[in-house]
Symmetry: C2
Subunit: 392 residues, 2 copies
């Protein structure tokens, strides 16, 4: 993630903390907020004032649908601003406008080709955003931020794509600068797997502080939530499962290369190569998914074996990070239960009992909107969450 | 880590944030603090008042050694309280009193036997604390907290040792309750490797947010700092490197068991078994260290091979967590450069260039006090660091 503070909602930490409480716990009176925060009523009033001025809070009970709540309650207003949340894949793009709670208000999906380069793809994003905004009838000034997920590594400190293997023309392209020149709002960029982890955490597994999201498609990568926070590592390359070497003993004889990494074996193209080698022609993730959906037993067996190979690496990660939930997504996971079954078989057999006793391994159910909900979550954290700084 | 809030210094988040600033950045005037925090002078004064009342801050320039700083500067007073920091190993215990900056003021080390059980060992801790306190001439009321590191797994939510393999009699013993009945202060308990990671981070690598501390002795474990925070995982078992299965291809022929875990191969006793199998009798970490210090080439070769086996597992962790620093400690690491050399050989050969370009792998130089500095760091974070809660 990288962003520009200008255009930020510029909340003080004290106001942001009160807002976070109203977001998480629901409407409260000024008296309740004063008691809960141990502050004077006048102090609470002063901290609420900028939130009210920005439209982020309002009296609950005045609205049409509020159901007769007693007067004096103050409620978070998620509709006060809109966010542009974008998920770009190799061949598919989704742009959505959400509110400040991450609820999708309008969405546009298109077949794009990421290899057309950043200008063509980002121009589609900007035009789609404009269409969506007009559809909702919201003024430009309502847009509080832009979050974009890319299908490749992104340098944490700058937001620049860094040697993205499937994104010709994008290497070190200034995505933030290009979009900001056209949309006047903070722009954040991250890789798609990190955003899928954030989205899954925010929507399905909010109570779990230790979650691993693993995407298996043309590539293999992971997004890591540990201690309640997305972990990017020192250079932003954390979660790179695809380039871990798989133990030789874990593989079927078809895989002779002792130096093969996980992606070469267990990604969509890796499974396609394994199928081709046993006389079932396949060349892409899409081919593999089609065979599996048609219940070809050779395809389902190959996917399960890929799950086992993934499991060999995930078993180590489970011992090291002790997550409570592992969510598996991507096209190969969506082709049936075979991938997750193979992962479960190895992880529950190999990791320590202490690390697996309360471990859930499951498929992602986020669907097409998972990536954009993650992008919205990243923006909401950036714009609204309290930060621990004396000076902000 | 688990603790009891009673006896806490009970700082409000706002006061804690000002204190954190003075701790990190040094003395400032009220006017500077007001400007930096964007608050009114009166607000800053109100937040400083409880810090002054607790003795945690005082006017700088009034002291003998202040060197003529202009009047009006306010400084953190690390000597306002003392902390009891304890590091317990299998056969060795260290108890120290530190100030609120983690500086060791007095220390006592003893040969203990953790297998004597919790009552005998903790009674030594309590008696040592009393001797140290009297040596410093500080009243009991000055002790603000107790931090204890144990050589085994500790359940995060309760502080209870959980099936600790080398600690007979300690399983689910209420360490916190036993100590608190004798010392009236908050008590925190964690495993020793987590504390070694915290201590190394606080003293040597403060600017690095992603650090891995690996201890290689009778057992093998890791403490993980990611995103600037110690990561414990869902049940507190994060960092369990010792029970990861080592790829068969990575081993020398001496290791025939395909299901052997890292600890069976690369710990002190594992290296001793390998040496015994080639006609060099050894049975413990201590034997291995003695042979290595005497420069026995078979011992140094066996330690280097253990480093390679560690490297096979660490290479995966590097891809997954993208740390910037790996610190290797424990008795086997202290026996020479052979262990770290073996780790480096494999990790720099196997992990991805993006993950290793800026990676440092080094020995720990913390020495005997490393564990107690970590215990003090845990306490200081608990007592003084701002927490993100409306209600505290």
């Amino acid at each position: 993630m990288a962003g520009m503070p200008a255009g930020d909602l510029q909340l003080t930490p004290e106001s942001a903390r009160l807002l976070a409480f109203l977001r998480d716990e629901g409407p409260r009176t000024r008296a309740q907020l004063a008691e809960l925060s141990g502050s004077a009523r006048s102090t609470v009033a002063a901290r609420l004032e900028p939130l009210a001025a920005a439209g982020l809070i309002a009296a609950a009970g005045g609205g049409v649908s509020s159901g007769g709540r007693p007067a004096g309650f103050i409620a978070f207003q998620p509709g006060a601003r809109i966010l542009l949340a974008v998920d770009l894949g190799a061949t598919h793009g989704v742009a959505a406008l959400t509110d400040l709670a991450g609820t999708v208000l309008a969405l546009e999906a298109a077949d794009i080709d990421i290899a057309d380069g950043p200008v063509a793809v980002l121009d589609w994003v900007i035009e789609a955003a404009e269409r969506l905004r007009k559809r909702l009838g919201r003024p430009k000034a309502d847009l509080a931020g832009v979050g974009i997920g890319l299908p490749g590594p992104v340098e944490h400190s700058t937001g620049l794509p860094t040697n993205p293997p499937i994104m010709p023309g994008w290497d070190r392209f200034d995505v933030i600068g290009y979009v900001r020149a056209r949309i006047d709002a903070p722009v954040l960029v991250d890789n798609d797997v990190n955003l899928l982890a954030l989205g899954e955490h925010a929507t399905v597994w909010k109570q779990e502080d230790n979650l691993l999201f693993i995407k298996v498609a043309t590539g293999i990568g992971a997004g890591i939530i540990s201690g309640g926070r997305l972990q990017r590592g020192a250079q932003g390359s954390a979660g790179d499962l695809g380039h871990v070497r798989v133990p030789f003993s874990a593989r079927t004889p078809r895989h002779g290369d002792a130096n093969a990494d996980l992606e070469a074996l267990a990604s969509g193209p890796g499974i396609a190569r394994a199928l081709t080698s046993i006389g079932v022609p396949a060349s892409s993730s899409r081919d593999v998914v089609e065979l599996a959906v048609a219940l070809d037993p050779r395809a389902t067996a190959a996917i399960r074996q890929a799950g086992r190979e993934l499991g060999e690496v995930i078993a180590t990660v489970v011992n090291v990070l002790n997550p409570s939930v592992i969510v598996v997504g991507g096209s190969i996971a969506r082709a049936g239960e075979h991938l997750v079954a193979g992962i479960r078989e190895v992880v529950f057999g190999q990791s320590t009992p202490l690390a697996t006793r309360y471990l859930t391994i499951t498929e992602s159910h986020a669907g097409e909107a998972g990536g954009v909900i993650g992008a919205a979550t990243m923006l909401i954290q950036y714009l609204l969450d309290p930060r621990d700084e004396v000076h902000r």
